[in-house]
């Protein structure tokens, strides 16, 4: 019998924030005092996800795939190996699979059972990715989900949804926007959004970052 198998009497008074700050602080103090965790190790992990591991890693991978056809072939054939060759990832992006969007097919990634996500290349998932709304709807109404993100695809485009039910992890290779011939990888990177690599968005158009640069 564990603590939470019963129906719970979690109080509705006070915000989750206040309750959780106290609860997690108490848990950390118990675990550290008992010698199970070291708070400095926790600081290191938090700092890594706040400052070093995020979607900028995925964006560099995608930009390289756009700029270098040989790298793209390797990425599609074995993403773990191809990404490993770039030296961007702590350890290895194990069991990583890159799936490519084409005019005929759009890919979208979900985890209906929990929130599996390619942390090594995209960092921690956004709240919406972990939400019941996304997890429930992505597999039955992917076009409706895309509409929530303001994305409309041609009616004949195949929508392929990848449910991450194992330890395999997926990153979408979005289509390279028109008007980017000859762009450097550094410039291409700015067009690659996190949502484009999950499949709930498309890569930005050059005009979208032109505005950003002008401001």
């Amino acid at each position: 019998m564990t603590v939470h198998q019963h129906a719970h009497h979690h109080d509705d008074h006070g915000s989750e924030l206040d309750e959780m700050q106290l609860r997690v602080r108490a848990l950390e103090s118990i675990l550290t005092e008992k010698g199970y965790v070291d708070s400095k190790a926790l600081d290191f992990i938090i700092d890594a996800y706040e400052t070093r591991i995020g979607p900028h890693i995925g964006a560099r991978i995608i930009a390289k795939a756009w700029a270098d056809p040989d790298f793209k072939r390797r990425l599609i054939a074995d993403a773990t190996d191809a990404v490993g060759s770039l030296g961007l990832v702590a350890g290895r992006a194990t069991h990583l699979i890159a799936v490519e969007n084409t005019p005929q097919r759009h890919n979208m990634v979900v985890c209906t059972l929990c929130s599996c996500y390619p942390w090594e290349v995209l960092g921690l998932p956004p709240v919406w990715y972990k939400s019941a709304a996304y997890r429930s709807r992505a597999v039955i109404d992917p076009r409706g989900v895309l509409a929530d993100f303001g994305v409309t695809l041609p009616a004949e485009t195949e929508i392929r949804v990848w449910d991450s039910t194992a330890e395999t992890r997926f990153i979408v290779v979005p289509m390279r926007p028109h008007g980017t011939d000859g762009w450097s990888e550094e410039k291409l990177e700015r067009l690659v959004t996190r949502n484009a690599m999950i499949g709930t968005g498309l890569a930005l158009a050059p005009a979208e970052i032109a505005n950003e640069a002008a401001t």
């Binding site: 959780m20 069991h95 942390w119």
Partner: protein, 218 residues
């Protein structure tokens, strides 16, 4: 288990609401609990599947009513009690009341980068793969009360093996206490109409990653 965590295809949760300029963490405790989960996993007492099952076992109204990191907190509390590391009385009191249990290792700052690297779940194959790409299969109509990674929405439905992913640790076995029991893992793709009926979007295809014991030849 046929729990509320198995959400694929459910209605009623509303629109997906992306947050502009979302921070990595919405409050400091979220980062602490994420990091504690990684550090406690490093003790080697449970694996990722057992961690997932701890969250699936939360009462339905708790699961649905809690944020992601709140579920991680409750699941971690349960695991520490289940493995005898912390007493329920200690969680209730919010302080240590009993001596610690000896552990084999603890994650130090010097080793913390190790938990950022993802381990491999692939294992040597005990037997050749039963299926190959292109084979037609049917997801078994099974309803195990324990942990499983076969979502309800594909059970009983026919699909096609798209890719053989190697022989992987079998979550159902780990959580049932049978050890890793590696099985072949496949990407199985289903037509949307097979899953959602005649009136559904004909352009949709959905794949799951399915271990061999989840599948029959169709």
């Amino acid at each position: 288990m046929n729990g509320v965590h198995d959400m694929g295809g459910m209605h009623g949760f509303g629109a997906v609401e992306p947050e502009a300029n979302e921070p990595v963490f919405h409050a400091p405790w979220e980062g602490r609990v994420l990091a504690m989960n990684r550090a406690m996993g490093y003790l080697g007492l449970w694996n990722i599947d057992i961690g997932r099952f701890s969250r699936e076992q939360l009462a339905p109204e708790v699961y649905l009513g809690s944020s992601y990191y709140r579920k991680w907190t409750l699941g971690l509390e349960d695991l520490t009690v289940q493995y005898g590391l912390v007493g329920e009385d200690e969680l209730a009191a919010g302080r240590v009341l009993h001596p610690a249990v000896p552990v084999k290792r603890m994650l130090t700052q010097a080793d913390a980068s190790k938990v950022l690297a993802r381990g491999s779940y692939e294992r040597p194959a005990p037997a050749p793969a039963l299926f190959k790409a292109g084979d037609r299969v049917r997801a078994r109509n099974i309803h195990p009360p324990g942990h499983t990674r076969l979502p309800r929405y594909v059970r009983g439905h026919a699909g096609v093996i798209e890719c053989v992913r190697g022989c992987h640790v079998f979550p159902d076995a780990v959580v049932a206490g049978r050890g890793e029991e590696p099985h072949w893992l496949y990407t199985v793709v289903f037509d949307g109409r097979e899953l959602w009926g005649e009136g559904s979007d004909p352009t949709v295809k959905v794949s799951v990653e399915a271990w061999e014991p989840y599948l029959d030849r169709a």
